[in-house]
């Protein structure tokens, strides 16, 4: 069902319904940092600890079997959710950051030689920048950057120069967390594929906003975090093509990831266990499963459509405010808005908004090079999720006007 109105889902999120005294509930507009959790996700973990809690994979008794089934069932769910070809291509990590570090660490030596190039974009989150920067430093490879224009859109004219004979890896963000730009990843991946370049897509922001199909994108790796997807903290996903995951060294060593061990040598387990050393975040994975179920009940096309409408409204309202400059005006954008206000520091704006019950983020949003590019130390960022409503846009705007009033 495609509609500008999502079913009344706010009540699914208990934190959004909390009131204290006669204050309105919080207008939570920091969803790019982390999302709120629906009751079903909280309940799923609660239920797990009450009824199924045991360690996974090796237990013979009923409880351990139930825990293992609950855990592995989520792998199937994630596999369907991202449309991976094989459940063994889904590795559970603690988050996007770990997923990227895993790939950079385990694959780096496999594919990168001195003089080779790794390509990222000008708008990467630190998590998709520093691991590659350090890898390049270690190997003696070169980190190169796809530039952007002053709207915050990638400049792709010279892409064929940047995707050259020495390029081995392309790592790029799907939706920028500080600019809101939706990058044309599919088109870029096609170009990279023609040259046999390996591609990692940072989907931390995109999974909650867009339907994602890793086979259609044809990326080699796709990474995301549970906590930005209405799931719990401490759990993330690494999707990787089987042929790559098989070639890669394990990232961590320990229980569950081995076939046989002696003091002299160890033989590693098959996929995906090779990459899941130690006791995983079992309850967290179960919570992630509930989050995916929740999203699929609503439907990603419906979410996408709803957010597009909300973005249009927010953009219009923000543009009405004199002295407000939106940072990030790419033609294709998501429901994340960064902006600065003349004469008022972002932190002061955020504090004043907070006092009015509007939660936004201020700072560089872990994208310092983006701030450097625009010559600013930081922005105010309002980022919306499926439970946000127009009324909250209005509260944001009213709060911004109040800040202007105080500083006038």
């Amino acid at each position: 069902m495609i509609t500008t109105k999502l079913p009344d889902i706010r009540t699914d999120f208990p934190l959004l319904c909390q009131t204290s005294g006669d204050l309105a509930p919080i207008a939570y507009l920091d969803n790019a940092a982390t999302t709120q959790k629906p009751q079903v996700v909280i309940d799923a973990m609660h239920h797990f600890y009450l009824h199924n809690n045991a360690n996974v994979h090796r237990g013979v008794y009923g409880l351990a079997v139930a825990a293992t089934q609950a855990y592995e069932a989520v792998r199937d769910k994630v596999c369907r959710f991202l449309n991976a070809a094989d459940r063994r291509e889904i590795v559970f990590t603690k988050g996007t950051t770990e997923s990227i570090n895993l790939v950079a660490q385990s694959l780096g030596d496999e594919v990168l030689k001195p003089g080779d190039e790794v390509l990222i974009t000008a708008m990467e989150h630190h998590s998709n920048l520093i691991p590659w920067q350090m890898l390049c430093k270690r190997i003696g490879a070169r980190l190169r950057v796809i530039p952007m224009d002053d709207r915050g859109a990638l400049k792709l004219e010279n892409l064929s120069d940047l995707l050259n004979d020495r390029t081995r890896i392309l790592a790029m963000v799907h939706i920028s967390n500080s600019l809101g730009t939706i990058n044309p990843v599919k088109k870029i991946i096609q170009k990279a594929r023609e040259k046999g370049i390996l591609v990692l897509v940072d989907g931390a922001q995109s999974v909650a906003h867009l339907p994602v199909d890793v086979q259609d994108l044809d990326c080699d790796f796709f990474v995301c975090s549970g906590h930005k997807l209405f799931g719990p903290t401490g759990v993330g996903v690494l999707y990787g093509k089987k042929s790559w995951l098989e070639r890669m060294q394990p990232y961590q060593y320990g229980g569950e990831m081995i076939k046989t061990v002696s003091f002299e040598r160890s033989e590693f387990a098959d996929l995906p266990h090779k990459f899941e050393a130690g006791t995983p975040n079992i309850a967290g994975v179960v919570g992630l499963g509930a989050a995916i179920d929740y999203i699929e009940t609503i439907g990603r096309p419906a979410i996408c459509y709803y957010l597009a409408n909300l973005a249009e409204y927010a953009l219009h309202q923000l543009r009405e405010i004199d002295g407000l400059t939106i940072v990030g005006n790419a033609p294709s954008r998501s429901c994340i808005f960064s902006f600065t206000m003349e004469g008022i520091h972002p932190h002061d704006v955020a504090t004043i908004l907070d006092q009015q019950g509007v939660a936004v983020r201020a700072g560089h949003h872990c994208t310092e090079p983006v701030m450097d590019f625009f010559g600013i130390p930081g922005t105010i960022r309002a980022s919306f999720a499926l439970y946000n409503i127009k009324d909250e846009v209005d509260r944001l705007v009213a709060g911004l006007r109040e800040a202007q009033h105080i500083f006038s």
């Binding site: 520091h345 932190h347 004043i352």
Partner: protein, 142 residues
């Protein structure tokens, strides 16, 4: 909104708009840096020290209203003071950000920052430059 107007009150807004001795002197004996990597606020504090007194103080940099005003009132209070007295003042001021401090409560301008107690996310803004100065004073004392 009463807590709020307490933090963004006239003292702070005024110092933010017209900070005291805001600029880069051509020479100075000591240059301190006050930097908060979490938010990017960064000030340089320029001091001329004559014997055990601060003779001239300037500052320059970028940050929020709270950190800028707090640096401004700090700089304003340094000139002519003994280093030991300054250290004591800094310590009292930092205490006033956590709990009532009698000495600070009497100084209307400094007391304005006590409202930051209600805004734990902004405490560091109020203390930033004071922290750097304390660090410098403690090192020079040794």
């Amino acid at each position: 909104m009463s807590e709020l107007s307490n933090l963004y009150q006239q003292t702070i807004l005024r110092h933010n708009k017209s900070p005291y001795h805001y600029g880069r002197p051509e020479t100075s004996d000591v240059v301190l840096e006050a930097y908060n990597p979490l938010c990017g606020d960064k000030y340089k504090i320029y001091l001329d020290v004559v014997e055990d007194r601060i003779d001239k103080a300037y500052f320059f940099g970028y940050g929020c209203a709270i950190s800028k005003a707090s640096t401004s009132v700090l700089v304003q209070r340094l000139e002519g003071k003994k280093l030991s007295a300054i250290l004591e003042l800094c310590q009292h001021f930092l205490e006033s950000l956590v709990r009532e401090n009698a000495d600070i409560a009497e100084d209307e301008e400094l007391a304005a920052f006590s409202a930051a107690r209600q805004f734990p996310g902004r405490l560091k803004c109020a203390s930033l430059s004071w922290d750097s100065l304390i660090e410098y004073l403690e090192i020079s004392e040794e």
